[in-house]
């Protein structure tokens, strides 16, 4: 066990309530003033198989779920078999001895085996199987010397005032577990200072949904798909109260086209999906690019190709996002690095979409979408820029697709008298009429086309200026520069801190949140003075490194690719750094 932090893991089978118990614990930690980062390892089956969730809680900010557990709850034998031996020195394992056997001689030094008759104790409070988890949670609260009242407050929030009996049962069961360990059946080194600092605990998806609400989204259409579904769930639950129309569409073709219809109608519109659904949005995205309709599209990546690893993480859809839609059209791709950026970048995405009147793609991955992280209370009072609107007083001068230096044209929306126009997917002229309707075959049709295409593509220049370059984190001069995009930031920074603390060499990290339009000049500037470079990304072919090379000609010296479906842990990166730098 490290000082100041604890990694808690609970494992069982799908259907055992692993994730929800972990959430209860994560909230208890958050309300105890700790920073939290979680990860759920689960499968594409509703029941059975093996699943586990880790909650890492620390006095100082944590950006990933860490590595081996300090405290482990084994809800079934598989969990003991797979995880018990990994529990860190000085840690604890909680099992129901009537159900699970632990091989004691495989355990690390000083690991306490806490045997609690979980099921038996739970029976007093409820017949529900899941209540045994609560007993175990209570025990953990006791072991870690946390304030039991904080736990109670979490349970109360979760079940609300209307379910007093459920609350009572849970509190009772937890108390039984708590008292069991209080009676000397185990106690850990007091792991962390608990405070009353209040923070939020959100998944990346929730942060995006909140960012959208803050930004004034008024229309959200989505078809469920892991790991994007909880955006739909959150917005369906909270949107209508704030006037947001939230539609589960019949498929993703419909989602994107509904969002385009709503965007054309003048409201802020969004959709969200994963790679398979995004594949179905490809044609619609190009349509939005051509119609110049703002729309925000969340692409939450999971393991591919095809259905692939539906509940596993990957960063394998960058080529897809870059290549979506026939022909060339301007898009921006943003890959938030953590839950806070999920909120902030959603706000940014809506503003970019409105200002540049084109689709903005927000890319996350399963681990960021679904993992909880603590954030400081979001400021919902966000900047909102709806972009260029037509001059209400001059309908006669209005041209929807006016050719401008910025590529952005004045916008008008249905209902505005005198501003009627047709937004057409065929190439058109400034007023929206089709070249083929009025200039079919006339020599100047070519010029008109070129003018309009150039205009659209000029938006890329503006978007480049309106977004910031990659962030160089760590020492300015380093022996090795890691290059990454999106959620890889978390384990990567931790790996760097560890390496830099333990070795003579210095490593830093170049992190991309704004992926496209690509910040070529900044990249070249920074990387020209890099000694050695290594791209760290969660896919097979190194899609981001290819993009970087296509934009800068710079080839990474090394690559670390992970595509087994699991997120990077700091140690994976540490050991690759050591290999590359020939450290012991």
């Amino acid at each position: 066990m490290k000082k100041g932090e604890v990694s808690f893991r609970i494992g069982g089978a799908a259907g055992d309530g692993v994730a929800s118990s972990a959430e209860t614990f994560a909230r208890t930690c958050t309300r105890s003033g700790l920073y939290v980062s979680t990860y759920s390892f689960y499968q594409s089956v509703i029941r059975g198989g093996h699943v586990w969730t880790q909650v890492r809680a620390s006095e100082s900010p944590v950006n990933c779920h860490g590595e081996d557990p300090d405290v482990l709850i084994c809800l079934n034998q598989d969990t003991a078999d797979f995880h018990a031996k990994n529990v860190t020195e000085g840690g604890a394992i909680i099992v129901d001895p009537n159900a699970v056997k632990v091989e004691k001689n495989e355990l690390k030094k000083g690991v306490t085996l806490v045997e609690i008759p979980l099921l038996e104790l739970s029976r007093t409070y409820s017949t529900a199987q899941i209540m045994k988890n609560t007993v175990a949670l209570g025990a953990v609260v006791g072991l870690l010397d946390m304030d039991f009242d904080v736990f109670v407050s979490v349970v109360k929030s979760q079940f609300g005032t209307k379910k007093q009996d459920v609350i009572d049962a849970n509190v009772g069961a937890a108390k039984a577990g708590h008292d069991f360990v209080a009676k000397g059946n185990g106690r850990l080194q007091h792991p962390a200072r608990y405070t009353k600092v209040r923070r939020m605990l959100v998944t990346g998806n929730e942060a995006i949904a909140m960012g959208a609400l803050a930004s004034g989204v008024k229309f959200h259409a989505q078809y469920p798909m892991t790991p994007s579904s909880s955006i739909l769930h959150y917005l369906a639950a909270h949107g209508p109260r704030h006037g947001v129309v939230v539609k589960q569409s019949e498929d993703e073709l419909a989602s994107i086209n509904m969002a385009i219809g709503a965007g054309f109608g003048g409201v802020r519109a969004m959709t969200a999906t994963s790679g398979g659904g995004f594949s179905l949005m490809v044609e619609g995205l190009g349509l939005a690019g051509m119609l110049e309709v703002p729309v925000v599209v969340v692409l939450a990546q999971r393991g591919g190709p095809s259905t692939g690893l539906p509940t596993k993480t990957e960063q394998g859809d960058l080529n897809l996002a870059m290549g979506a839609g026939q022909g060339d059209w301007p898009r921006a791709i943003i890959a938030p690095r953590n839950q806070q950026e999920c909120f902030d970048m959603t706000v940014k995405a809506f503003n970019l979409a409105d200002v540049y009147q084109t689709p903005i793609i927000l890319m996350t991955d399963l681990v960021l979408s679904e993992s909880y992280g603590t954030v400081n209370t979001f400021d919902f009072n966000v900047p909102i820029n709806r972009g260029m609107m037509a001059d209400e007083s001059k309908p006669e001068e209005f041209k929807r697709y006016l050719v401008t230096e910025s590529g952005v044209s004045p916008r008008a929306i249905p209902g505005q008298k005198g501003f009627q126009h047709i937004a057409g997917s065929d190439e058109h002229m400034e007023d929206g009429t089709l070249i083929s309707d009025v200039l079919a075959g006339l020599p100047n049709s070519l010029e008109e086309r070129v003018k309009m295409h150039d205009k659209r593509m000029r938006k890329l220049n503006g978007m480049l200026k309106d977004t910031s370059g990659p962030e160089l984190w760590g020492p300015e001069r380093a022996d090795l520069t890691l290059v990454s995009w999106g959620s890889t930031q978390g384990p990567l920074r931790e790996a760097i801190s560890r390496v830099n603390a333990e070795n003579r060499i210095k490593v830093n990290s170049l992190e991309y949140c704004y992926v496209f339009p690509f910040h070529t000049d900044e990249t070249k500037n920074i990387l020209k003075s890099a000694s050695l470079t290594m791209a760290v990304e969660g896919n097979y072919t190194g899609q981001f490194a290819r993009l970087l090379r296509a934009e800068t000609s710079i080839e990474m010296n090394h690559h670390l690719h992970k595509y087994d479906g699991e997120p990077f842990e700091p140690r994976h990166i540490v050991s690759k750094i050591k290999e590359v730098m020939k450290l012991a």
Binding site: E206, K218, F219, G261, N381, S425
Partner: protein
């Protein structure tokens, strides 16, 4: 109403349809219906897909989206939901609506949104120069079926009955007056309205011509068809051959529309709301 409130709906752009194309009559009928209804062009939006027929929005002075092939309904749905005060009309071809778009068509109908969908059904793919369409009759020879179509045609009226459309009708470009009336009634109807139109393609469909239809078509309304009787409508939907019914097959009045049920509207119309969250306390609290 005073005269000046009647607006011109024809834009200055001349359709490039072939001389004799049925779509001219549809355009005229739409124009007439909109004018008769004294709608204001800026409160009307016409959404189309891709096809000869889908060029129609350009020839009107309303707002519109000339979208992509088969996605008329989703675009119209998104727009209508964002701003339910608009009169939203979908237009397009049989390929667009009943072929590639038939899934959206089914789902749009079961939502019973207050949208009017006018399908120019020429039983052929016009713009792509003459392949079989989902309504091409069996055995019809086309570029893609030189030995004749071997599929049974889609029956849009029957599909509409099976899917909850609340106004179901069929017109004919050879009967422009009747067609305009059907469109007008469809727009007036609160709920999803289908106006299926036999709109002959004089260039690529040499079989289902004006002369093919003229002797066969008759008006349901002249026959005292009961538009409230779903069973009768079903029978009429299946009628095809020597006699082909035109007019209104079925109307369900008073069925709540999607707009009536959408919970978000309790906060007002999306387009008119203030953006953002004024009081985020509840959202924040819940996430703690």
């Amino acid at each position: 109403m005073p005269d000046e409130e009647v607006y011109e709906f024809k834009s200055g752009i001349k359709p490039m349809w072939c001389p004799g194309c049925g779509d001219y009559a549809v355009l005229n009928a739409v124009h007439k219906a909109l004018t008769n209804l004294k709608l204001e062009p800026w409160r009307v939006a016409i959404i189309s897909g891709i096809g000869c027929s889908s060029n129609l929005p350009h020839f009107l002075t309303a707002f519109g989206v000339h979208g992509i092939h088969g996605r008329v309904m989703p675009i119209a749905t998104g727009l209508k939901l964002a701003n339910p005060e608009l009169t939203v009309i979908g237009t397009g071809g049989d390929g667009d609506g009943y072929g590639i778009g038939v899934g959206h068509f089914i789902h749009a109908m079961r939502r019973n949104l207050d949208i009017t969908y006018i399908v120019m059904d020429n039983q052929i793919y016009g713009l792509t120069t003459g392949q079989a369409s989902p309504t091409s009759l069996k055995e019809m020879k086309t570029k893609s079926t030189p030995e004749g179509v071997i599929e049974n045609p889609v029956n849009p009226i029957a599909l509409a009955l099976a899917s909850g459309a609340t106004y179901i009708s069929r017109g004919f470009s050879g009967d422009p007056k009747g067609l305009a009336e059907l469109i007008e009634a469809g727009i007036k109807h609160k709920g999803f309205s289908l106006v299926d139109v036999f709109s002959p393609c004089v260039t690529y469909n040499k079989y289902n011509t004006y002369d093919y239809f003229r002797p066969k078509v008759y008006s349901l309304q002249k026959e005292n068809h009961d538009t409230k009787d779903m069973g009768a409508a079903w029978k009429k939907a299946l009628e095809w051959g020597e006699k082909i019914p035109l007019g209104i097959f079925y109307v369900a009045e008073g069925v709540p529309t999607y707009e009536d049920l959408e919970p978000a509207y309790r906060q007002g119309m999306p387009l008119k709301q203030k953006l953002g969250i004024t009081d985020p306390r509840e959202l924040i609290e819940e996430a703690m």
